[in-house]
Symmetry: C2
Subunit: 357 residues, 2 copies
């Protein structure tokens, strides 16, 4: 099992208990054989599930923990109660201790972010972490961040997010110099907060250092795939993400209703069944499940709390790819190449250590 990717799972997170996590792991293992799992949570509930999946059991280990962070707990409460002693914390701690390459939880997002930040700490030079979403577009998958870690944020933070997002694009999509766009509004009058304008200036000057700064993009540029990485603060990003999910679901409802409006439509839909099934898969939110916590000294993936084993499998697959592609190394690289973040270097001097004497 050389080079196996070791995934630490908070088996108690999510609305549906450990079955989703364990069943999801079984499906993920089918797709990526060289994976091993550590399941954190109530052993009495997890062990019988592993018995059901003989192919999963040999690559799995259970670390018992009785304490479960509930979905409605406030992050500060969760941290007080569950620090050092909850399935969620233990899953993250496995990454810190080097026992796992990535941690995954379907639990309370705020609690997970608080614990991950507290346990793994922000990377040097990064002020606050972000949550990145892998967003399907007409062109190809792109990255949108922050979709919900921080409300507001200054120019420095938006620049940090750009470095993080570019590194993720380099890692996941194998792009040498991904294009970056700053999410903004359209009308000339109001073009953006001061923070967005200042971030644009910094990114414009640094363009070329591992990314290409494209300029401002608007909400409809996300679905078009105008750039590889869309950067914004967490409030607008979360609203964009949720609004897109809502719209996709809304249009899905329209399609279903239209195609069962009368017998002729139903016949047509039956004949075009395969195409419509493919479409349904494409619109299935479970297949794009998983928010990536970026900017910490370790990788943590948030799975949607309400998802099933198909969705959890997708989040595990994402975690696997994050670990395999060495995203943390790529972030470090990106930071070293970024001119204004290195106190000693300049735009033409990617190695700050190489300062002339």
């Amino acid at each position: 099992m050389t080079d196996s990717i070791r995934i630490s799972v908070d088996a108690m997170g999510g609305d549906h208990g450990p079955r989703v996590a364990v069943h999801g792991a079984r499906l993920a293992l089918k797709e990526r054989k060289n994976t091993s799992f550590i399941f954190h949570g109530r052993s009495a509930e997890i062990a019988p599930l592993l018995e059901e999946y003989p192919e999963l059991k040999p690559v799995s280990r259970i670390v018992h923990n009785d304490n479960v962070i509930s979905m409605d707990e406030k992050p500060s409460q969760a941290l007080r109660k569950g620090r050092n002693n909850s399935s969620m914390w233990a899953a993250i701690q496995s990454v810190k201790d080097g026992e796992a390459d990535v941690a995954i939880s379907g639990g309370n997002t705020g609690a997970l972010m608080a614990m991950a930040t507290f346990c793994l700490r922000p990377m040097e030079g990064i002020s606050r972490p972000a949550i990145a979403a892998i967003w399907p577009t007409i062109r190809t998958d792109i990255i949108v961040l922050d979709v919900g870690a921080t409300v507001g944020g200054d120019a420095k933070q938006l620049v940090d997010f750009s470095i993080l997002g570019a590194a993720l694009a380099r890692a996941l999509f194998d792009q040498e110099a991904p294009t970056i766009g700053l999410l903004n509004v359209g009308t000339e009058e109001m073009k953006g907060h001061d923070e967005v304008k200042e971030a644009a200036r910094i990114l414009g000057e640094a363009s070329g250092a591992g990314f290409v700064y494209h300029g401002f993009v608007e909400g409809d540029d996300i679905g078009k795939g105008t750039v590889d990485v869309v950067v914004t603060e967490g409030f607008a990003g979360n609203i964009a993400l949720k609004t897109a999910e809502g719209t996709a679901r809304q249009v899905g409802t329209y399609i279903r209703n239209a195609l069962k409006a009368d017998i002729v439509s139903m016949l047509g839909a039956a004949i075009a069944g395969q195409a419509l099934q493919a479409l349904k898969r494409k619109l299935d939110p479970r297949n794009i499940n998983g928010g990536v916590f970026l900017g910490l000294n370790g990788i943590v993936i948030k799975s949607h709390g309400g998802t099933d084993e198909i969705g959890f499998k997708a989040a595990l697959g994402l975690g696997y790819e994050m670990a395999r592609s060495r995203v943390l190394d790529k972030i470090g690289e990106g930071m070293r190449r970024f001119p204004t973040l290195t106190t000693q270097g300049s735009a033409n001097d990617p190695e700050p250590e190489a300062k002339p004497a």
Copy 2:
């Protein structure tokens, strides 16, 4: 022509010149007979178009103006250059002078907002205007504002927008007490800016004064139609609107591609043709064209600059309904009923003038 609704049209606004405006008016007149039009712009271009539509000509008047505000002019420039002397300004001035009930332009949004604000002035008690979108949902049409007039905004502004949105819902949808939701993010940790929290407190206390305060809503609640009015500041609102448009277009592309993937799918699509046509109409952005400027002493509608006559017709129809339903009166009513905005009244005293001696 008693009770005819008089629409003032900036015939030179938009990407495609006066043909779209005049042709759109002809289509709008077919749907709503008791409409009359004032077309502002270059007479030499507009007059020949009216000759083409003999049914439109008798209810139309041309007010010549040579100056056209271009799409890329900055609002401040546009205001300097076009104040008192441009087709855009003249269209708004007609409303101010009482010659028209509503003004419509497909021109530069920032310039239109600047000119409308300068010419019509904000209503007493309203600090800044908002742009409201009529948003189709699974349940029914709802109102989302602000979708692009102001970046940022304090609690008072969000409360103002709530009063404006509720009045628009009462006017357009004939709802006695529309439900209001404040757009926010999901995770407990970061629940909103301080401004959103403070606005929630004020709205909670005032709930019942012409609206029902529902609480926070998330991006996916928009498409679900969870509330009748979704309130947010212009940055997040614009991003939500554009992201939804982009997502709808993206899913539309998926549908088209799926249904022409092979001969069987094409056959099925042909048979379900009527249903798919209905679906296409439902997803057609032209049918929901028109942003409403709210909070000024007069009604102005922004039509999408790139739309065609079908889209312009929709914006004209929206303007007609706004005028017919006396939305300005309803806003005034809503403000008088709102407790914290009346310095002399209280929640139980909707008539501030009736102060006990």
